[in-house]
């Protein structure tokens, strides 16, 4: 199986999708409202556009076209018109991008009825999930944490980069395969506590578990909407403890949804309060990036708190 970076895996998925289906069109780059508006029109025609937003931080001019148009077109026309498009965007920080190249706006999409939201963490998933997103009949927001394009970044920014070629999830099969939207992946099995996370923070949580000696079960959610509630609930019922980790700002972040879901469905199995480790509720800073980023030390500290509660 060839080793690929996440960039190569995404490019491969594009090529395969376009080869298999000549209604797939790919375009993008930095005139976001126009790109998404045009894509909605193309999708209404019957194409399957897969468009790129330069950075997730720049999606806001297109937000009306995503929320009011793509997300609601099927519903408001009672299925007369649909918008099967995929909107890709690099997300998250860790590259000294400052406040305009670092944001994680996934909760702005998970809050919208009619959208599906995917956040990938590795090349294997990126290819299979992108193909599934393009083939899906509904609009899919496809978030690519830019810090893991070239390797499984674990938050230790002062250490050499580990390339995907040295990681099992960098092994990407040739040809077509899909990973169904709505299925989480158990990234690391464990008995002490359940970590619910996605994107770059999957690898950070793994480092935190390895370095703290806490036997965490790390669940990579992969798709936030629809959410794989069964995998989450089964794990929390078994471990009795739950830590939610994401890079996006804390307040009203997707972690709040996860926390509520866990207490609604596994309350009597909980030994400790569900705890969140997230980005601070500030704009993403440039010079103070590593004080903002929820790195392995912060995650490990939270794990110890959950274990001792």
């Amino acid at each position: 199986m060839p080793a690929m970076t996440m960039i190569e895996a995404i490019r491969d998925a594009h090529a395969i999708a376009m080869e298999r289906d000549d209604t797939v069109v790919v375009f993008g780059e930095d005139v976001e409202a126009g790109i998404v508006g045009v894509a909605v029109g193309m999708a209404a025609y019957g194409l399957r556009p897969c468009v790129e937003i330069q950075f997730a931080d720049y999606v806001y001019p297109a937000y009306d076209q995503i929320v009011s148009e793509a997300a609601r077109l099927r519903h408001r026309s009672a299925g007369d018109f649909t918008a099967p498009l995929t909107i890709r965007m690099p997300t998250g920080g860790g590259i000294f991008g400052g406040q305009t190249h670092s944001q994680s706006p996934e909760a702005l999409f998970t809050h919208v009825a009619g959208l599906k939201t995917v956040v990938v963490s590795n090349p294997y998933d990126a290819k299979g999930l992108l193909l599934a997103a393009i083939e899906d009949d509904d609009p899919v927001i496809f978030l690519e944490p830019k810090r893991v394009y070239n390797g499984p970044f674990d938050g230790h920014h002062d250490r050499p980069i580990v390339p995907w070629s040295q990681h099992p999830l960098g092994e990407v099969p040739a040809g077509h395969y899909t990973i169904p939207l709505g299925q989480a992946r158990v990234h690391r099995s464990g008995d002490d506590l359940t970590v619910l996370t996605y994107g770059t923070l999957v690898h950070v949580a793994q480092a935190a578990a390895d370095e703290s000696g806490i036997d965490a079960e790390i669940i990579d959610l992969r798709t936030l909407v629809p959410l794989d509630v069964d995998t989450i609930v089964a794990s929390v019922r078994r471990t009795g403890r739950c830590l939610v980790v994401h890079e996006a700002t804390l307040t009203s972040g997707f972690g709040a949804e996860l926390s509520a879901t866990v207490q609604e469905r596994a309350f009597h199995h909980l030994e400790a309060p569900v705890t969140r480790v997230c980005g601070w509720d500030t704009p993403y800073p440039h010079a103070h990036e590593w004080s903002y980023f929820p790195g392995p030390d912060r995650v490990a500290r939270a794990m110890r708190e959950v274990m001792s509660a």
């Binding site: 209604t23 069109v25 005139v31 409202a33 126009g34 508006g37 045009v38 894509a39 909605v40 029109g41 193309m42 209404a44 025609y45 019957g46 194409l47 001019p61 009306d64 076209q65 009011s68 148009e69 077109l73 099927r74 519903h75 408001r76 026309s77 009672a78 299925g79 007369d80 018109f81 649909t82 009825a113 009619g114 599906k116 899906d136 009949d137 509904d138 709505g182 909407v225 629809p226 959410l227 509630v229």
Partner: protein, 410 residues
């Protein structure tokens, strides 16, 4: 000036160019037949001044004059009159239904009927329009079942949109009518995308984008022109200038431009300003723009000068911001009266036939409304099942919506 670095900066606060209660004449009115008709592929700079003039065919006596006069026979002209009268009767009946408390909301297109009706007839049935809320003429001239439109307005059990949309927010792919959003201007750039898709697929269908003059100040309008110009998309870009953006006079959105057709110039998109109350001019200009699109000559921008004779919607009271006699003083008259005069002048019409058609159209509308009304309305509680709100959010019902639907149904 005491300040050595120059005067204090001042902001221009817009004032209505035609007065606070405008009934002053519309600027730049050419005479019927005065404008030349350019070749389809004429260079944009050679027709640049047409954006500050007015394409007109019907003169004050009802004669069709000049090179823009379209080749329409008497049957087609009578069909156009019938389309417009049907729309007007449809609007009148539904406004009455609103006063009767049977519907929650309505928007009429009184005075603007020619634009949608004539363009629908000038284009092909399988072209796709991306309309606003005032193009019901597209559906009626396109032969869409009137009862079905009324069912939508009533939000009753037979509403094809299952009570999800405000009245008049129709959708019909079959009749080339894109789902109306209600968010202004979003459809404009989507129309360009649809047209680009059609060209990418080697199709022959074109798109027609619709917007009001006020909403042409929205950013999506400008995004649409960028893509239409860059990719030379096969699209017609209509701006219906009905003089009023709700209660704001048309020149507020226009800014320092002389006309809305000016907006095409910066994108090198050929732009015409057309008498929107002249059925023949609307037909001819639409046909010209459609032929350009079909010949891979790119987009055309058409500003239709007309007047919104009625209120913006049933939630609006125009008496507080416009004079009662504005329609009487509007220089372009009434589209139905003008086509009727033309038919009379060419000997294809008379008062007796007019009266008979009015009776026929009113009866058609009355019968349609009686049938739609028999299916109830949102006001009488005869709607689709509430559980249907969970359908069509996604292609297949996801688990969380199944759970929520079950919870709602208790």
């Amino acid at each position: 000036m005491d300040n050595p670095v120059g005067p204090a900066l001042q902001l221009r606060i817009p004032e209505p160019a035609r007065g606070h209660r405008p009934a002053d004449p519309v600027p730049y009115i050419s005479a019927a037949g005065e404008m030349r008709k350019p070749d389809l592929d004429e260079k944009v700079e050679r027709i640049a001044l047409m954006r500050k003039q007015l394409v007109r065919v019907l003169d004050d006596e009802g004669h069709a004059v000049g090179p823009w006069a379209p080749a329409l026979d008497a049957d087609q002209l009578r069909q156009g009159l019938r389309d417009m009268m049907t729309v007007r009767s449809f609007d009148a009946r539904l406004l009455r239904a609103h006063r009767q408390g049977k519907i929650s909301f309505y928007m009429q297109c009184l005075g603007e009927e020619a634009i949608a009706c004539a363009q629908r007839r000038a284009l092909r049935a399988d072209d796709m329009h991306f309309p606003t809320y005032r193009q019901q003429g597209l559906l009626i001239a396109g032969g869409h079942p009137i009862v079905t439109m009324m069912n939508q307005v009533l939000s009753n059990e037979h509403d094809p949109l299952k009570g999800r949309q405000l009245p008049v927010m129709y959708s019909s792919k079959e009749h080339g009518f894109f789902s109306i959003s209600g968010n202004l201007a979003t459809q404009y750039v989507q129309a360009v995308g649809w047209a680009m898709a059609s060209a990418l697929r080697g199709d022959t269908r074109i798109a027609s984008a619709w917007i009001g003059e006020g909403a042409s100040a929205e950013s999506d309008f400008h995004a649409a022109l960028v893509f239409a110009s860059t990719y030379q998309a096969p699209v017609i870009l209509n701006i219906v200038n009905n003089q009023w953006a709700i209660s704001t006079p048309e020149d507020f959105a226009r800014g320092a431009s002389a006309t809305f057709a000016d907006r095409g110039y910066g994108f090198s998109i050929p732009a015409l300003r057309v008498d929107g109350n002249d059925y023949l001019a609307v037909y001819a200009a639409s046909q010209w723009a459609a032929e350009r699109a079909r010949s891979n000559l790119g987009p055309t921008l058409l500003e239709w000068v007309t007047l919104r004779v009625g209120a913006h919607s049933t939630s609006d009271d125009p008496s507080v911001y416009r004079p009662d006699d504005e329609a009487d003083r509007f220089p372009l008259g009434d589209p139905i009266e003008r086509l009727r005069r033309h038919l009379t002048v060419i000997g294809a019409w008379d008062d007796e036939r007019q009266a008979a058609l009015q009776t026929e159209v009113d009866a058609l509308i009355a019968d349609a409304f009686a049938e739609a009304d028999s299916h109830g309305s949102v006001k009488s509680g005869h709607t689709s099942s509430p559980a249907t709100m969970f359908d069509d959010v996604y292609a297949t019902l996801p688990r969380h919506l199944v759970e929520q639907r079950d919870r709602m149904e208790g």
